[in-house]
Amino acid sequence: MDPLLSFVRGQMLEVAIAVFCFGVLWRLVGVTLLRHVRSLSPARYGRVRAVVEGSFVAGTRSWPHKAFIRRTGYGEALGYGYHLALFIVILLFAPHITFLKSLIGLSWPALPSSLINIIAVLTLALLIAVLVRRISKPVTRMLSNFDDYFSWLLVTATVVTGLMATAHLGAPYHQLLAWHILSVDALLIWFPFGKLMHAFYIFPSRVINGYTLARKGGAA
């Protein structure tokens, strides 16, 4: 077997998973145990109800308000679109399920590979549209830093190399597969230390925000 392929699916994948698990737990535990600012306003709800209300608010406010939908709808659609497409490709492609099964021991039915290929192409198109939007709008351009572009690059590289591997484009399959797994390894290593960590932060932070607002009466 190709030495690079052997390395990226052997020792390097092992290191990448170890770094990923270390980094994610470090940041999750570290942030969770930070001292939170004490709320001085009188509590409107009990803790349980505040969590329920907060979760509800976190859900409803993850969608653009109708007053802003004309202004933000395109960006939101792009964001949700590529996230959804990416999740379908990651979780419902047969080889990915096999990989996850080898890690966690669970498996589920796959979608046909040809359908996954179409969704992967759509994912790539949406990723490119997201980048174009980010660069073309002055505000998002000024808000962006290395972290945003590097995270985008790693995700896109993984999608591109995956598509190339399934289509056998440009190089022998074993090389393409090695590049794909190499990009996954790089993604796993970078994941906890960059903005990709939002995958773990986003829902707890929204629920905590919702909970805090609910306790203050702002969730009504």
Binding site: C21, W26, S102, L103, P172
Partner: protein, 369 residues
Amino acid sequence: MADSDSTQTVGEALRAQGISRRDFLKFCTVTASLMAMPPLAGRAMAKQLASMKRSSVIYVSFQECTGCLESLTRSFSPTVENLIFNVISLDYDDTLMAAAGEAAENAREAAMQKNWGKYVLIVDGAVPTGDGGVYHTAAGKSAEQILAHVAKGAAAVVSIGTCASFGGLPIAAPNPTGAVPVSDLVTDKPVVNISGCPPIPAVVTGTLVHYYTQGRLPDLDSYGRPLAFYGNNIHDRCYRRPFYDKGQFAKTFDDEGARNGWCLWELGCKGPVTYNACATLKWNQGTSFPIQSGHPCLGCAEPGFWDGGSFYAPLATGKWGRAGETRPRDMAFVAGAPAGIGAVVGVGAAGWARMRRKHLEDKPREEED
């Protein structure tokens, strides 16, 4: 074994063996088409091959199991391939020849002297170089010495099988005999690798016929294998490929998927990363090949296939654990230990942040005091 003193042409020798002109033309046409030669090349090849004097081939064996030679010369039904191989003038093969000991060594020396600079050397097996070469000796000489000696007068060297081409089983970790492939030792002659465990007979004879009729070795891939036979991976030519594309996989060797002939990828098939002609040429005169018989490809034509993890682990899985196959319990260590350390570091980082914050909050008060 061929008689090296014979003045017969290859055509005459084949006719004497009962091979008809039709069979011979068929062989040449198929060989030419397999090697992506122009349509009329088969006829030209037949003409040239039939009229050429038999050329000398010397076959030496080192660390190998004789499976390659067995594959090539299987005798239950003599084929044009193995007759061509023999008739081309196999002057020395220590496994096949009747002579032994000094007589065999003398026969090899005689063939070498007579055909110096013109014979083709076929090597079967890896070459052990560890501990002074004690793991393979013949007539008091190590395999490395024999190879250096025989290769000196060869026009070209053909490494037959994965052991000779890439080290095969002998080079597998921890490689106790210090085995190396032929191409590591023979660097001043053209070397062609015909990998496979064993290689397909038609690929061996096709390469030899190409050399004798074209006067040069065929175009090679990055691993030194004839591109015409190793240019495509098995997955691309596999008749089960449509099932891969549809996401239909056999999960075990006796489930519904296996009975329906679905793709064997989840059973560890290495077809996607293995370059060989198994799916097109097949074995036993085009009867079948491993995948057609219901077994995943092991990837035997690729370098390091013994060290590539479990034969039955799908390519999409990681490659670690005792059997080179990722399993959930291996993950407990690979992921669990770093996660635990990460959690401890997280607690420490949060504690440090709290102390720092408290320090910053207390500082103005101290200054006010």
